[in-house]
Every structure is written in C-alpha cells, then in structure tokens.
Amino acid sequence: MTRSRAGGTDDPGLARARTNLAWTRTALAFAAIGAVILKRELAAGLVVLVLSGLVWIVGRLARMPGHEVRARPGRLLVIAIAVTGVSIAALILALFGPQTAGLRL
C-alpha cells in the first residue's frame, strides 16, 4: 500500500477506495428511500431518486485518483441539506399524507 505524506497530496492507498464505497452506499440508501417515497408521492420520490444520482456523482468527482485530497465542506453540506430535506418531506408525508391501511402480511 502506498504511504501518504502529511499534506494530503499523495495516493492514500485503500482509503480512497473505502471512501468511494461509502459514497456508493450512501447513494444506494438515497435510491432506496426514494423508491419508498415514489410509491406514495411521485414527485417527491423522483426528487429523491435524482438526489441519489447526484450523491453518487459528487462522490465520484470529488475522489477521482490524482486529485488533491483535502476537505470539501461545501459538498458535504449539500449532502447534509439534502438528507434534511428528505427528512422534512418524509415528515410532511407522514403527518399530512393519505392515511393507509398498511400492508397485510
């Protein structure tokens, strides 16, 4: 494994791969919850699905090999705001959405 030096400009080895996988899992989580919302609210579900693609692209672009490794608060802030927005949308849907009888197992 390549050893990085202080300053964050070298290849940190597998840390980059693990971070890319973490971004991918986050995008999949977005897609899963988007599919759940899509079942009840088409517009909100589509928005969340688009957000999942956006998360995946952000993760890939920010961590391309050869780029300088440094903190990017703006992109992470966008992700946090997106999740908060999804939470608010889910809360609105839960409180004011149509009441259903639920799944009968």
Partner: protein, 303 residues
C-alpha cells in the same frame, strides 16, 4: 603325538610404528597417538604448535600480500575516526583500545570499504560499554553507509531504550531528517488555522460523516415505512405516528449534527487537537430504545 596348528602373523602389527612412514611429521603424529600421556602441553614443549603457527603465518603472508598494507591503512583510518570521535564525544575507554587492532587483523579484508564497516561496527559495539554522550543533532555527521547502523540511528525497537543519559526517542525526534519521512504521519502541531491533515484522516472523517448520513436515511425510511406500511394499532389512532415520526425527526437531527461533527473533527485534525466526544450515539440509542418500548407497549395494548 603332535598338534599341528596354523598361525597367521601380520608383519604390520609387529613392526615398529615410527618405521611405518619416514616423514618427520608422521613420526610425530604416530608418537602422539601411541603415547597415552601426550597432551597439549607436550606438543607445545616439543614445538609442534610453534611450527604449525609459523607455517600458517607464512602461508597467509604469501597468499594475501596486501594484508600488511591493509593493517597500516586501518591504522590511518583509526586515527581519522578517533579524531572525529573526539570531536563528537566518541571517546573510547583506554582499556578497550588494544582490542581494535587484533579485531581488524583477524578479519579477512577484501576491500578498504569493508574494513571501514568493520571498524565502525566494532567501535559502535565498544561504545555501548563506554561512557558515551550523544552529540547534538546539528553536529552529527551524515551517514552514507547504509549497511552499518550508526550509533545515532538506533533500531526502531530501541525507541524505549536509553542512549547514555538521553532517551532514544528524544534523540530520534531531533535527528529525524532523512528523506524517508516519518514512519506514521501525525497531525501537525497547533499553529493558527492549522495544516491540511493526512489524507487518510480526511477520508476517515468523511466516511464517518457518510455513515451517519446513511443512518439518518435509514431512520427516515424506517419512520416512513412505519407510518405508511404498518397496519394501524387497534384502539390507538396515532400509534403509527407515535412510532414513526420520532424516527423521522431523529433522522433530520442526525443529518444536521453529523455535518457539524464532521466540521468540528476536521478543524481539530487541522489544528492537531484531540477529537471531541460525540454524543450522537447516545442520542441514537436513547431515542431508538424509547421508540422500541413505545412500540412494544402499543402492541400489547392493541392485542
């Protein structure tokens, strides 16, 4: 009546041992083997060892003619290194100095470079038993020979050891100027806004943030599924909302707080400060436990 028998006599057995081989060396060896009281002292008295040592010495001198010149060259190197040692406080104990020349003369010396290595190794070994005080970091001469461990570059295992009166770890910290860099990069010391931390730390902090984001998404999905997909509790109209809405709210809180924690951790990494303790796990555990208890109670009440 006469008895007739056959007897075989071997002349070798009855012959005089010294007469078996006419050479003087064989004669001496034969006598040594015959006489039971022949000892090392007897051989020394009779001159066997003297002859042996002398013959070996002449053979060595004949085969390796440059040995004498090498010994003379080693003497010059020794004088030069003693001058360096005196400059950096590398004084040898007087009683150990006579051991240097026999050590060099006893070793085969194919080249002057190897002799220099042996000399340094021997001197480093002897300094362990003498009063040695390490020189200052700025006075340390550069080490070009990588096959010899200089006294000022001890092994990594020796970080817990003492070198003279100075801890080795402290000494390494002062003299760590080689091109290989630190073995494990540490966050820089606090200096204003700080420096960019090691890339692995940045990645790890980011992965932690993403893990919390996924947790928040999971909470939101669970809350929404409870409200929308779970069958209603009998007799409890807002039962599903009482379970699902706290989870959705917790997801929003976790999403916001995870970003704040990421920023605080990144700032601490840049400044070399210790990371502060996160209270998100406690919050998560408490809320989920309360929701689980509420769900169990509602399930029991509704039958």
């Amino acid at each position: 009546m006469a008895c007739v028998g056959e007897t075989t006599v071997t002349f070798v057995t009855l012959a005089v041992a010294e007469a078996a081989r006419p050479e003087p060396a064989w004669d001496l060896i034969t006598v040594a083997n015959v006489c039971p009281s022949w000892s090392r002292l007897t051989r020394l008295v009779t001159g066997v060892f003297a002859l042996k040592n002398a013959s070996q010495f002449f053979v060595i001198v004949a085969v390796v003619p440059e040995l004498a010149a090498e010994v003379v060259g080693l003497g010059a190197v020794a004088e030069a290194e003693e001058e360096d040692g005196a400059e950096f406080g590398l004084e040898l104990a007087p009683e150990l100095e006579p051991l240097l020349l026999p050590e060099q003369a006893a070793m085969p010396a194919p080249s002057a470079h190897t002799s220099r290595i042996c000399w340094r190794t021997l001197r480093a070994t002897m300094q362990l038993f003498s009063n040695f005080s390490p020189p200052a970091a700025t006075q340390r001469p550069p080490v070009h020979d990588t096959r010899v461990r200089h006294p000022a570059t001890p092994r990594p295992r020796a970080q817990r050891m003492m070198w003279g009166n100075v801890p080795v770890a402290h000494y390494r910290k002062e003299t760590q100027t080689d091109a290989s860099g630190p073995a494990s990069p540490a966050p820089p010391a606090s200096a204003g806004a700080g420096h960019e931390p090691d890339a692995r730390y940045t990645f790890a902090n980011e992965r932690t943030f993403l893990a919390w984001i996924r947790t928040a998404l999971g909470l939101v999905a669970a809350g929404l599924a409870i409200v929308q997909l779970l069958p209603p509790f009998h007799g409890i109209r807002w039962g599903r909302h009482a379970i699902g809405v706290p989870l959705i709210l917790l997801g929003a809180v976790v999403a916001v707080c995870s970003y704040l924690e990421w920023a605080a951790n990144q700032r601490a990494l840049r400044r070399g400060e210790p990371l502060r303790r996160s209270w998100l796990p406690q919050l998560l555990a408490i809320v989920i436990a309360l929701v689980a208890v509420a769900a169990a109670m509602m399930a029991l009440i509704s039958g």
